[in-house]
């Protein structure tokens, strides 16, 4: 029983962390982030299964996490208000070539990072951007001017 509780707690805590660290940290996966991801996975595993090496333990932990993932997905789909809390909402960063500095600051994004994102979307100037939106996933969508 305890392994189900630990897996549920680990799921909730990691979910909570990803929601509070901010989308800036989630938007990229650089070498350091990749290493931290592996380290975090190992820490979570130790806390969930501890000294349980059994297949039963694997089924309980993995099954619990999968069920919770489906539950969160369903809540996101079914309830708009819950989606706003669980997944977050998009934020407009550029409107008609004009950078919305306050929104940028809110997400701890620099103009340089915005320009980098634009370049990755084959846009050589922010003035050519009609809309830039920081999505709830942490990715920035660029819609060029016509």
């Amino acid at each position: 029983m305890d392994i189900v509780v630990r897996a549920a707690f680990a799921f909730a805590f990691v979910f909570f962390l990803t929601r509070i660290v901010g989308r800036r940290e989630l938007s990229s996966l650089e070498p350091f982030d990749l290493i931290m991801l592996i380290v975090l996975g190992d820490l979570v595993q130790q806390g969930v299964t501890q000294s349980d090496y059994s297949v039963t333990g694997l089924v309980l932990a993995a099954g619990t996490i999968a069920l919770l993932q489906v539950a969160v997905s369903y809540l996101n789909y079914r309830f708009r208000r819950v989606r706003q809390v669980l997944a977050g909402e998009p934020i407009v960063l550029i409107e008609d070539g004009r950078v919305l500095e306050a929104n940028l600051a809110r997400e701890r994004l620099t103009r340089g990072e915005l320009e980098e994102g634009a370049r990755q979307s084959q846009l050589d100037s922010l003035e050519k951007v009609r809309w830039a939106v920081l999505e709830s996933s942490g990715q920035i969508s660029f819609i060029p001017k016509q």
Partner: protein, 174 residues
């Protein structure tokens, strides 16, 4: 002014109406995570040892052990006995809370004998002459499923006669 993309509501997603509290809530929750880390740094979640002692005419005893431990971790309890008078049959009696949900890895030096005394563990330490110092180490590991708070009692007896008792609290975090 460009028409906004589908799904974007300018008042909410550009002007951030009703979303003022977002960053502050995020900062507050991050502060909560930081607080937990700070509490861990000052030892709230284990496991720096603390010493509790008691003295009676025939002997003095001090126990050094953590007041908080976490599931799966190893820890040590150190019992130091100083005999003021000779103890013919020094016996350390530990209540079940010392052992329940714990794994005892070793007891050094090994007691002369071990027995159950009304459900407690009685470790016979043998004869302690006046002025003798006896140090007993017990190495424990917390079973992963053990959680909660409990009172540990250690009684030093001379034969069946109680000399002194020490009580400590132990908090076990999951």
């Amino acid at each position: 002014m460009a028409d906004q993309p589908d799904g974007i509501v300018l008042r909410r997603h550009r002007d951030l109406e009703g979303r003022f509290w977002g960053p502050w809530l995020r900062r507050a929750l991050l502060a909560l995570v930081a607080l937990v880390a700070v509490l861990a740094l000052v030892g709230v979640f284990g496991q720096p040892p603390s010493t509790t002692s008691a003295e009676a005419a025939p002997a003095r005893m001090a126990i050094s052990a953590p007041g908080a431990v976490r599931g799966g971790l190893l820890y040590q309890a150190r019992f130091e006995i100083r005999a003021n008078d000779a103890l013919n049959d020094a016996t350390l009696v530990l209540n079940p809370a010392w052992l329940d949900g714990m794994t005892v890895n070793t007891i050094e030096p090994s007691p002369v004998s071990q027995a159950s005394r009304n459900g407690s563990l009685a470790l016979s330490l043998g004869h302690l002459p006046a002025g003798a110092r006896y140090v007993l180490f017990m190495e424990f590991q917390v079973n992963p499923t053990t959680v909660g708070s409990r009172t540990l009692r250690a009684e030093l007896d001379d034969g069946e006669q109680s000399v002194l008792t020490i009580s400590r609290r132990l908090r076990i975090f999951p």
